[in-house]
Structures are given as structure tokens and as C-alpha cells.
Amino acid sequence: MSILAYIVMGIGVAFMLLGVIGIFKPGKDFYYRILVACKIDTVGLLTLGIGLAIYHGISFFTGKMFLIVIMILVLNPFVAHIVARSASRSGYDSIGDSTDVDESAGEK
């Protein structure tokens, strides 16, 4: 059982590694980065949580972990959606631009 848990947690860490590489990849725009950051939060944390739940077997801890996993599954894509939506609504259009969000873009 613990071997399975380690494998699942390893998959989670691998997803996080890919996400970190993707975030700091040069020459990509803001929307690309937020897509990748959402992957770290959602898939990485989700797989880590499932791995921890498997590792501990059936207990009170697993129930709490299950609730946390559901929260992550619901909340993280929503948060990434909100950030990208706000950037789009405040007129930030960064295709082919690798700089950070311009501060004056939100001031209109």
C-alpha cells in the first residue's frame, strides 16, 4: 500500500516540477504562465493529497484529506479563471509579450 502511495506522490511532485519549469520558461506571456501555474496547484496538490490519503489508510485523517482534495479540485481552477478573467477584462493583452502585468493596465 505504501509503495502505491509513494508512486502517486511521485507523480504529484513530477507535475509540480513540470509546472515550475513552465512558469519560469522565458519568452512566454502571462496567459501561458497562469495556465501552467494552475496545473501546479490543481494536479500537483491533488495527486499529493491522494497519495497522502492512500498512505494513511482509512482513518479520520483520510476523511479530512478527502475534503481538502475536493476543495482544491473546486477552488484552484476557479481562482486561476478569476485571475485570467480580471487580466482580460482590465485590458491586458500580452500576446508575444513576456513582461509582467503592467500596473497601469488595471488603472483604467
Binding site: 475534503l67 475536493i70 476543495m71 473546486v74 477552488l75 476557479f78 479563471h81 478569476i82 480580471s86 477584462r89 488603472e107
Partner: protein, 331 residues
């Protein structure tokens, strides 16, 4: 060793954040860095072995960040020029003032390091609390035992402080029933995704708050944190469907009633010893007392924060005087 290094790194980040907060003039950035500061503080509390305080710090940081940003949006959306950031210039401090000040502060710091007490101070009281709290107050969480048992008098005054703050905000902010803004309050109100998320998340937060309140005497948590979680539900509701249909007067009345019960319960259970006289020092009554007090404190904090948030969001400023103040501040 690794833990020590991580703690040291966090402390350095904490100092950098604090310096940025003090010296920056961009108010949105200050708010965000304030949240970062609180988060780092909370992790440091966790390193020091105080999960109750860490959770309180994280919850308060979440609450205040939303609170500040919403208030700022309200403030700027009513002004004429819109969202010009606070552009007050940093006052230039001449070197002949700055240098002695720096020397003085570093001298104080050196003295502090030189004469810092080595070893622990007197620990008799702490040892006695930790040894006796299960028999005296009950429960398994020493923090709850101290703030509901040994130091319940302080807790009463803290509760009184929150009541005073709420009453002061109510009476010092201009507000009329007709001035409640109707229509859209945030960008999220027509989003079906936000409504769906709220429908799933709010029961979860409610469950978490109930867990914190009802388990406060045996694990980390307690009334204050549970109440904070309940108040966060109202903030979620504000962003998605608005809170202006909720009865604020009833919330205020309920808060006062709950405060009266917070005063009454320790009088019977702790101060006068009526419960002890009739039923002895039984575990059952101790547990009932702790759970009831935690629930009351949680309700009180939830109502108090709700009233504060409602009034800050719905506050109506007087038109003429405030406009002149805006001009003065901007110019």
C-alpha cells in the same frame, strides 16, 4: 538544523516585507505585502509550535486583505478622479537626522543583544498551568484551558472590546437605509461559475468552522477561529450574490445577546463556583462549559465581523465635506 535555517530565512523575509510595507507609497502593493507578512508570521508561529496562533494569523490575514481591498475600491469608485494611487511624496529625511537615528537604533540593538537574558525566565506559572489544566479546567488543549479557565476575566474584556469596536463603527460611520447600493456589487455577480463554486465551498467552510468550534477543547482551534470561518462565508456571499438583503440590525442585536451569555456562563461556572458546589469537578460539566463557551465566542466573533464588514462595505460618505478632503489629500 534545516528547521533552524528555514526559520532564519523566513525571519529575514519578514524583515524585508516589513521594510517594504513601511516605505512603499503604493497602497495596493502595501496591502498585498501585508498579506504576505501575515502568512510568513503564521508559518513562523507554526515552527514555534503554536498552531492555534498560526491559524488565527492566517485567518485574520485572509479577512483583512479582502476587507482593505473592498474598502479601497469603494473609496476610489466614489471619488471623482477614480483610482489614482496615493501619490504622497516620500518626505526627504536629511542625513544629519537620519544618521544619528540609525546609530541610535543600532546601539539599542547591540545593547539588546549584549544584555539579552540567557536561558528561560521564571517558568513556575507555566509549569503549573501545563501540569494542572486537565484537572482544573478540562479539555486537552492548554490554550483553550487558559483562555476559558485561568484567564477568563481577560477573555471577557476582549469580548467587550469587540462589542465596543462594533458599536463605535456603527455610530461613527454615516449610513442610511436608502443609501444601500443596489444592483451589481462586484464583477462576479453574473458568473454562473462563481455561483456554482460558492454552492460547494460555503458548506465546506461551514463544516470547517463547526469542526474548529466543537473540537476547540481537544485540538487546535477554538471559538475565535470558528467565528472567523463563519464570517468568511459572508464575504464569499458578498462577492457572488451580495449581502445587502441580510438583516444587519438583527445581527447586532444577536451579538449583544450572545455577549450577555458570555458574561453569564463564566459567572456560574468559574467565578462563583455554583456548578462546582452542586456537581463537583466532573469531566462532563467541564466539557459542556468549554464547548458552550467556544460556541458562544464563535457566534459573537462571526456576528461582530459580519456587522463590521457590512458597514464598511455599505458606508455612505457625506458628499460635500468628503470631496474637499479628497482634494486636499490629492493635492
Amino acid at each position: 538544523m534545516g528547521g533552524f535555517l528555514a526559520e532564519l530565512l523566513l525571519l529575514v523575509f519578514l524583515v524585508l516585507c516589513a521594510l517594504y510595507i513601511v516605505f512603499s507609497r503604493k497602497i495596493y502593493r502595501v496591502i498585498i505585502f501585508f498579506a504576505v507578512f501575515s502568512l510568513i508570521t503564521s508559518v513562523i508561529y507554526l515552527f514555534l509550535g503554536a498552531p492555534d496562533v498560526a491559524m488565527a494569523e492566517a485567518g485574520i490575514s485572509a479577512f483583512t486583505t479582502i476587507f482593505f481591498i473592498v474598502c479601497l475600491e469603494k473609496y476610489y469608485s466614489r471619488g471623482k478622479d477614480g483610482r489614482n494611487e496615493a501619490t504622497a511624496p516620500v518626505p526627504k529625511v536629511p542625513l544629519r537626522v537620519l544618521l544619528p537615528a540609525i546609530l541610535f537604533v543600532s546601539g539599542l540593538f547591540a545593547l539588546f543583544i549584549l544584555y539579552a537574558p540567557t536561558g528561560y525566565p521564571y517558568t513556575g506559572l507555566r509549569d503549573q498551568y501545563l501540569r494542572m489544566f486537565m484537572r482544573d479546567v478540562g479539555g486537552e488543549n492548554a490554550v483553550t484551558a487558559i483562555y476559558l479557565g485561568y484567564r477568563v476575566y481577560d477573555t471577557l474584556f476582549e469580548a467587550l472590546l469587540l462589542v465596543t469596536a462594533v458599536v463605535a463603527v456603527l455610530h461613527l460611520s454615516w449610513y442610511s437605509e436608502a443609501a444601500v447600493p443596489d444592483g451589481r456589487h462586484s464583477e462576479l455577480e453574473d458568473s454562473r461559475m462563481a455561483k456554482f463554486t460558492m454552492r460547494i465551498v460555503c458548506p465546506m467552510i461551514l463544516l470547517f468552522g463547526m469542526y474548529l468550534v466543537l473540537n476547540g477543547h481537544i485540538s487546535a482551534g477554538g471559538g475565535f477561529l470558528g467565528g472567523l470561518a463563519f464570517a468568511l462565508i459572508l464575504i464569499c456571499r458578498f462577492f457572488v450574490v451580495g449581502i445587502f438583503d441580510l438583516p444587519i440590525k438583527k445581527a447586532l442585536k444577536l451579538e449583544e445577546i450572545v455577549f450577555v451569555f458570555i458574561v453569564i456562563l463564566p459567572i456560574f461556572a468559574i467565578f462563583t463556583g455554583v456548578v462546582y458546589h452542586f456537581w463537583g469537578n466532573s469531566v462532563l460539566f467541564q466539557t459542556i462549559y468549554l464547548i458552550a463557551m467556544n460556541a458562544l465566542v464563535g457566534l459573537k466573533v462571526a456576528f461582530g465581523f459580519f456587522v463590521l464588514f457590512y458597514r464598511y462595505v455599505a458606508v455612505e460618505r457625506l458628499p460635500e465635506e468628503d470631496d474637499t478632503e479628497d482634494v486636499k489629500e490629492a493635492g
